[in-house]
């Protein structure tokens, strides 16, 4: 019990993917739970088979080799992994920013060793703090000035690489006002661990005060 308590303590905190605050992060967390449940069922099945082999070796002697090799060795993992890949790809498809989406706010996220800077598409950048309106989709145009970094706000969405000379767009939604912590998710040098940032979701009335523009009304 103490061990389980220690393990579960890692499921919370400001950088936990298992404590989602937005729909994108919730989809990703759901994949994790589906995989955990599936892995637990498969593990239980294997352990039961193992127990039967140890406790009553004759019971499985009549099962043909084809069942073990073709059925459980090939067909079962193929079907399981194909289902998981399909589910993950379809979930990932829903997380991608659609350029035609309406009522969206666009912001820039520019990484460099070792800080993140944020701002409106054509405005000045602010280090370490991204302000977005709560309850509205935000397209974050992510890029880098030096090496590859990765924009990650675990409670809001998945990761998006920041690549020099290229702009990737990630869609995030913070349903409620609050502060959401982010980190660089791609090792980018000795200062990699020291480039955290925060996403501050404010009441939409505070949008103009934050200096953000509505790029796609």
């Amino acid at each position: 019990m103490a061990g389980a308590g220690l393990l579960l303590a890692g499921c919370g905190g400001p950088l936990s993917t298992l404590d989602p605050a937005g729909p994108s992060a919730a989809s990703i967390a759901r994949i994790w739970w589906v995989m955990l449940a599936g892995a637990a069922v498969i593990l239980a099945f294997v352990l039961v088979l193992l127990a039967v082999v140890f406790l009553s070796p004759d019971r499985l002697r009549g099962v043909p080799g084809r069942v073990w090799i073709v059925g459980l060795g090939l067909a079962f993992p193929l079907v399981t992994l194909t289902a998981l890949v399909t589910y993950a790809l379809l979930t990932g498809e829903r997380l991608i920013a659609d350029p035609a989406e309406r009522d969206v706010v666009t912001v820039r996220a520019v990484a460099r060793q070792w800080e993140w800077r944020f701002g409106p598409p054509d405005g000045p950048l602010t280090a370490g703090r991204l302000v977005i309106p709560a309850g509205r989709p935000v397209h974050v145009a992510v890029t880098s000035e030096d090496v590859i970094h990765s924009f990650w706000v675990p409670r809001l969405a998945g990761k998006m690489d920041a690549i020099p000379g290229h702009v990737n767009v990630i869609r995030i939604v913070a349903p409620a006002p609050g502060v959401y912590h982010g980190a660089c998710a791609e090792f980018c040098g000795l200062g990699h661990a020291a480039m955290p940032f925060v996403v501050e979701a404010v009441d939409p009335a505070g949008l103009n005060a934050a200096g953000l523009t509505e790029a796609r009304p």
Binding site: T82, L89, G92, E93, I96, A97, H166, N168, V169, I170
Partner: protein, 112 residues
């Protein structure tokens, strides 16, 4: 080329096609996104999708002559050992894997 010397060729050919498909699809997806091919339309398809489908189709087509050559060697089960049937099953697995890796490029959003 007799059955003995052709064996290594038939064992490796399928997955060589698969590996070529994997590398070229990966490269085409990355290059296409970098050059904005997803925004250039060629009829109903984007240039990006067209390139990915083209690369995929060429590799799938490469399995046709390979399959015909395997067929000339005889059907699985004609020979005395499972080992001798390996080229048939390995090529089948490689074909399935090549179909599998091309599907995302054909149906999913190409660039973030």
């Amino acid at each position: 080329m007799n059955a003995q010397t052709s064996f290594p060729v038939f064992v490796t050919a399928g997955f060589l096609i698969w590996s070529s498909a994997f590398v070229m699809l990966y490269a085409a997806a990355s290059a296409g996104c970098a050059f904005g091919w997803q925004m250039e339309m060629v009829g109903p398809l984007s240039l990006q999708r067209l390139v990915l489908l083209g690369v995929w189709s060429v590799h799938l087509a490469a399995f046709v002559p390979l399959g015909l050559a395997l067929r000339r060697r005889g059907s699985p089960g004609d020979r005395r050992s499972v080992f001798a049937d390996a080229p048939f099953w390995i090529t089948g697995a490689a074909f399935a894997a090549t179909v599998f890796i091309g599907v995302p490029g054909a149906v999913l959003t190409a660039c973030a």
